[in-house]
């Protein structure tokens, strides 16, 4: 039970920090909307009809996921910034807290930020492109779990690297490919259940892996 209490303590701390600083989340919201607008202009002629007819659903859904993944990256790059600035990560590692609780607490906070992001991104997408189905929303929520789980761990790895911001996307994108497949499939396919189940599988496998291995990422 103390494990969960620690997770809650740490997640609350992250939420408090973000509410106070208000730097990361607003940037992410603005970024996703800007990205969607860029996509609108980047689509070739006749896109208007395409989107209206919903004929090229797949392409439009793809844009949503590209926007979500890259916006998530933006936020993840700053995930461990508070710990880095004051050296607090060592403080957490010193504490009797389970190291996985550090990971889970941070992931939980990131999950909440991603949900806040979706609350803006999905309506914006529906406004600019095509309506969003329920299975897309389910796909987004499931993918959020995967993104925050692996993203938090990879961001911690990147924090140990000299090239920090540069390396996080390189680490994250290959791992994000299955998530995009699952998400787009859920939104487009006639059998979304399969894709949602796959997303669940991804989440399960990688959450367990992250939970077990975070200790080693922060230890010397």
């Amino acid at each position: 039970m103390t494990f969960l209490a620690d997770v809650a303590t740490l997640a609350r701390k992250d939420l408090r920090l973000e509410l106070r600083a208000r730097d990361t989340l607003p940037a992410m919201l603005l970024f996703v909307v800007s990205t969607l607008v860029v996509f609108r202009f980047a689509l070739p002629e006749g896109a208007d009809d395409v989107a209206a007819q919903g004929a090229d659903d797949v392409a439009a859904q793809g844009l949503l996921w590209v926007a979500l993944v890259f916006t998530a990256l933006l936020g993840l790059a700053r995930a461990w910034a508070p710990e880095r600035e004051g050296g607090a990560l060592e403080g957490l590692v010193l504490a009797p807290t389970d190291r996985s609780a550090i990971w889970l607490g941070k992931s939980a906070a990131v999950f909440i930020f991603l949900c806040a992001l979706d609350a803006v991104a999905l309506p914006a997408f529906a406004l600019f492109f095509a309506p969003v189905s329920l299975s897309t929303v389910a796909g987004v929520l499931l993918a959020n779990v995967g993104i925050c789980a692996i993203g938090t761990l990879l961001a911690a790895m990147a924090a140990a690297s000299r090239t920090r911001e540069l390396i996080l996307p390189l680490l994250f994108l290959p791992l994000a490919i299955p998530l995009v497949v699952g998400g787009v499939g859920a939104g487009v396919s006639a059998e979304p259940a399969r894709f949602l189940a796959f997303l669940g599988l991804y989440d399960g496998v990688f959450a367990i892996l992250c939970w077990a291995s975070f200790e080693y990422v922060v230890s010397e």
Binding site: L171, P174, F198, V205, F206, L209, V217
Partner: protein, 235 residues
Amino acid sequence: MSTSSLNRSGFGSPVPLLAVLASGLVGIALALVFFVAPEDADQGLSQKIFYFHVPIALTAYACFGWGAFKALLLLWRKEERYDLESYVAVHQGTIFGALTLATGSIWAKASWGHWWLWSENQLVLFLVLFLFYSAYFMLRFSIEEGPRRANISAVYALFGIALVPVSFLAIRLAENVIHPTVFTREGPQMTGTMFFTFCVAWVAISALAYALYRLELLGKRLDSNLRELREALSS
């Protein structure tokens, strides 16, 4: 540590023998492929590349698996040597992965006239893995040498192995909905001789990979021993 690895890297090292063995096997495999194995009725000469493409792919998987295994040992036993062994295995795997992409691409061009096919699951999977493991090296070389780097590399290598089945599933799912299959392909129906040739090629390439693995390990260990010696002499 120094003496035991010296023994491993000094006289009595299996590397020269392995190298000769591997070269021999590869020679035999090449001979079999081009002179003994019958030409495929449908695909002709271009089918021959399968004898290399598939074993290379399998060997790449094996290397990544070996790297992940060593990574697990590192995290569990905390012995330094596993870090180097894991790294070299991943390195070999990446090389063979690149070869897989190359041979696969050549085969695709020869068979279908395209240098790349999104419907080829194997190829797409390797592309994803190649991206993943390329990032491994970027990660590794941007962290200072030490236990932190070893641990992080090991965790990443383990993620890679988990990615293999997950990606494979994803690509299979994608194929049906996102990229409807345009080309269908039946696996080569292999006659007895073909199968034998395939097995020989597989053993040859595995031997080659292992020989290269031991060779690289030997080289790196000698390097590090030399450095230690230099430091010991200068202090």
